[in-house]
């Protein structure tokens, strides 16, 4: 579902709730989930998915977890907290914060994560956890660095 985590700035979607967050980087055309799931029977059994969502490789405490621990079985357009509350995809920080409490605390004050735009006199947008971390495989992936500066002796002195 969160197949591709894009680093470019996705469309600003500011319908907000508690924090002015970006839209989660949902794969194109996949939302609302109820388009497909509304007519499907809920199968809570842990299994290898063969027909849909085959691109998702769960690598996030996968031995103890399955789709429906976070995705709400009754209404697939929502996420589910451990206490049974359902939340929107744009509030997914609540879900992540259940386990990663200290990171969530830092995120709320702007120390973990990223904010862009205007801190004064304009729109400020917070990146959601999932804008940088793929929730199914959250470890931050290595990047190719930009080129190093040119060594001076190569440029000067002809």
């Amino acid at each position: 579902m969160f197949a591709i985590i894009a680093f470019g700035v996705p469309a600003f979607a500011l319908h907000h709730d508690e924090y002015p967050v970006l839209m989660p980087p949902l794969s194109e055309g996949i939302f609302p989930c109820s388009n497909c799931h509304a007519g499907l029977e809920v199968n809570a059994k842990k299994r290898k998915l063969k027909d849909e969502h085959t691109n998702i490789k769960l690598h996030h405490a996968e031995n103890n977890r399955w789709c429906l621990d976070c995705h709400n079985p009754a209404d697939r357009d929502k996420l589910k907290l451990a206490n049974g509350d359902t939340i929107k995809f744009t509030e997914s920080y609540l879900l992540c914060g259940q386990c990663h409490g200290n990171i969530y605390r830092d995120w709320k004050v702007g120390i973990h994560g990223k904010r862009i735009g205007y801190f004064k006199g304009g729109k400020r947008v917070y990146f959601l956890c999932v804008n940088c971390h793929n929730p199914h495989d959250p470890k931050f992936k290595p990047l190719k660095p930009e080129p190093p500066p040119t060594k001076p002796e190569r440029t000067y002195g002809r």
Binding site: I111, K114, Y118, L143, P145, P147
Partner: protein
């Protein structure tokens, strides 16, 4: 005494006539713009009307030179603001996205000379302060590399800036909001400030700057990212053109790991105050007593 061919009076007379003649010839030989530029005052001594004239002249010059309409701001400091910067060393992966975002935002020369205001330094784990072993030409396939950490260094906007003290013509100074700026038109290119800076935060235009026309940023500040000329010093300005309009600096927005934090040190609710009060913080070369406003911290 009587047989001296020139008296003092005659000497002075000749000298003054000579000066007048030289000025006349000089001004007729160069354009009005050049003469105005030559007579331009230090930015801090300009009146509001003089600033407007200078801005108009510069905008015309840039239009002629680059074929683009520039908007040059002279927006001053707001009261109750002292900018501070935070950099999370436990998050930086050394990808240099900040370096290139800065180059683009601030119209730095791309090649010959290649000028960059941010230098990302690679250090071995466990030898953080040992800058003698720092490497900034690292170029692996991917970052972060195991066993290393990365520390971007740029102008630290010292409260007690050594670069400002050594400038013989007062072409560089600290603004009331704490940003250390350069009046490029006043700079004589002596580079004393480069020698004085303990952070290598300043760079010099050894040649005429080279900027691809299509990449020019035309939204500029007089004391910030307006195009520079040969023989002047330049440096990070915390993106003065952005932050005085309430916008995050370009490096903060470019960082893919959220390493960079920016805010008002005088605002108790700002991100920067939170991290200073709650995280492990240090300032680079604190012992030099330059009082930098650039706080390195560890969030994890």
């Amino acid at each position: 005494m009587e047989d001296r061919s020139h008296t003092r009076r005659e000497f002075i007379k000749m000298m003054s006539m000579g000066t007048v003649a030289a000025l006349y010839l000089g001004s007729s030989a160069c354009t009005k713009d050049k003469a105005e530029e030559f007579l331009q005052k230090n930015f801090r001594e300009m009146s509001e009307t003089e600033k407007k004239q200078v801005i108009r002249r510069l905008e015309e010059t840039y239009l002629r030179k680059y074929g683009k309409k520039f908007r040059i701001s002279t927006r001053p400091t707001e009261s109750g603001v002292l900018w501070g910067y935070g950099l999370d060393l436990s998050r930086c992966i050394g990808c240099r996205r900040c370096v290139y975002a800065c180059v683009k935002e601030n119209n730095q020369s791309r090649v010959n000379p290649q000028l960059q205001w941010i230098r990302v330094v690679r250090l071995k784990n466990g030898s953080l302060i040992n800058l003698e072993n720092a490497e900034h030409y690292y170029n692996p396939e991917t970052v972060p590399e195991p066993g290393f950490m990365y520390m971007p260094v740029q102008c630290q906007h010292c409260e007690n800036p050594p670069c400002v003290r050594v400038c013989p013509v007062k072409a560089t100074w600290k603004e009331p909001d704490g940003i250390v700026v350069v009046d490029y038109n006043w700079c004589i290119g002596c580079r004393y400030c480069i020698a004085a800076c303990p952070y290598k935060g300043r760079v010099f235009n050894w040649g005429e700057p080279n900027i691809p026309l299509e990449e020019l940023n035309t939204d500029v500040h007089y004391l910030g990212n307006r195009p520079r000329m040969k023989n002047v010093v330049e440096k990070c300005t915390f993106c003065v053109q952005r932050v005085r309009n309430g916008r995050y600096p370009a490096c903060v927005e470019a960082c893919p790991t959220g390493t960079r934090k920016f805010g008002n040190l005088l605002d108790p609710n700002s991100e920067i105050r939170y991290l200073i009060e709650n995280k492990r913080v240090f300032r680079l070369k604190e012992d030099l007593n330059a009082e930098p406003k650039f706080y390195y911290f560890f969030s994890a």
